[in-house]
């Protein structure tokens, strides 16, 4: 298993991987606040801070919502590393989020 392509991919990421995460929120909505808290803890525990979280409040910046076609909030976009991934929801389901961000198994 450790020699699988996925493992190699993870290793490569680990070397020069810096994560850029853009979180679209709707003001102080409870789901948006939950998503931000979940994302922050994920960053610390699974990326050792190797990440930048960018938040966009769609209520204030509707053009940004148009640009990224954000129909539901909260919505998280993994901007870097590529490929781009979108996760919808308050990110409460950690294993799903980690899998989506290709971080499964980075820390047990």
């Amino acid at each position: 298993m450790s020699k699988s392509p996925q493992a190699k991919h993870r290793a490569r990421k680990g070397q020069h991987g810096h994560y850029l995460l853009r979180l679209f929120m709707a003001g102080n909505g409870p789901n948006s606040q939950k998503a931000l808290a979940n994302l922050r803890s994920l960053c610390e525990e699974h990326l050792n801070g190797r990440c930048t979280i960018e938040t966009v409040d769609v209520a204030k910046d509707f053009q940004a919502a148009i640009r990224d076609n954000i129909l539901v909030t909260p919505a998280l976009i993994l901007v870097a590393p590529r490929p781009r991934v979108m996760v919808l929801g308050n990110l409460s389901d950690l294993p799903t989020v980690l899998a989506a961000l290709r971080l499964s198994g980075s820390k047990s």
């Binding site: 769609v58 539901v72 991934v85 979108m86 996760v87 919808l88 990110l91 409460s92 799903t96 899998a99």
Partner: protein
Amino acid sequence: MHGKRRPIPKLPTQIAGLDEILEGGLPRGRTSLVSGGPGSGKTVLSLEFLCRGAMAGDPGVFVTFEERAEAVRMNALSMGWNLAALEKAGKMAIIEARLSGDEVLSGDFDIQGLLTIVGGHARRIRARRVVMDALDVLLRVYGDRQRERIELYRLHDWLIDRKLTSVLSVKAQLDGNMAHRYEFLDFMADCVIRLDHRVLGQVATRRLRVIKYRGSGFGTNEYPYVIGDHGIVLFPLTQTQLTHQPLGKKVSSGLAGLDAMLDGGFRRAACILIAGSSGTGKTTLASAFARAASRRHEKVLYLSFEESQEAMIAGMLSAGIDLRPALRTQRLMVQTALPEAMGSDNHLIRALEAMDSFKPDHLILDAISACVRMGSEHAAFDYLMRLVAVVKERGITCILTNQMTGLAGDGEELSGIGFSSVVDAVIQLRFVDAGQEIGRQILIIKSRGSGHSNRRESFYITDQGIEFPNNLRLPSARAGQADPKDGGK
């Protein structure tokens, strides 16, 4: 509580026929729901509502959850609506709200993003109208009815708070589980319109029905509609059937002998049925009327489902009736079509368009029996009822021919498909065995609002026209009412 209520404010849709059914338009500042199966025209209807508004200077936002914005623009262009120009002019905004499908779901979310985008565009162009097309596609992402419902109520409240007159379209089969799934939408919306698209006898028919209209009356029938070249066209005719013009003065049948039998002729604005088996002279009788009308400088629209214009003119010429002068002077317009060429709704539109442009005094339809080939007996009945309703409303005399195959019975059977109640006069033609030869006889079975002969009279079709061998005369007291110049001797 009722009756005292002030009429609710409405926004006309400008869609042909719809505002009559909705008694003025959609509820202003409220939410309307349009549901229907695939191909029923939900998108066209809601798009037309928006376009007609935008073209009249009332901007609107169109949110498409299923089709690409470019596809919407193309479809609109085929109806003659230039969305790109309206967008450029700031009268319309098209929002492509399509989830790609590969998003990952984790935890709860809401449609705040969508509302923000719609709100932003609406503010930018000062929109008063919003259409959300194929809303069910967005809701599918929830996969949870409870959440779906909560989000829809959120959307509904948001639209109403902003006083937007909105149309939500939802895909629904009438008896599929989708209908059940979105039942609550019917309660939420102030106005609910159901579109039904079915195929009867290989011909597509579309029907629109208003299910509810909070605070307002509405036409409760099923209304046929077609998607024409310029959008939706509805026929809300059944509501106006009570406005028939009264029967008018006598008008010559074009045959002195028949006028005598009819106590002077037909009544103007009457609906006259000429029934008989093949070859008894139905078309000849109708053509004699047309020729006489054109000589009086009146206009006749002839709808022929039996033969081409050339064949009909040639056939009548051999029976001594020359319709060419009437055609030349444009007092006769012949519209021919194969009944099976299109659905009954399209036939009706064609006839109505001809009536609008040509403005005939009289209409001849040859023959009822062919109309069944429009799809079904039901379709033919519908077509004829609606056609006759318009004809009566406009005070146009109408002659219907019907080819009978069986034995002659009462008026009900003579019309073939049972609408004798709208028929004012019934004339029956038949063959008789007259020894060495076959003769023809004519009988007037009824003539509403007029006296008439009860005798069967013989007549001949010669190369000089129709001749009555018995020198029929008007009852002396009424002599001179008909014009004996035309037709038989």
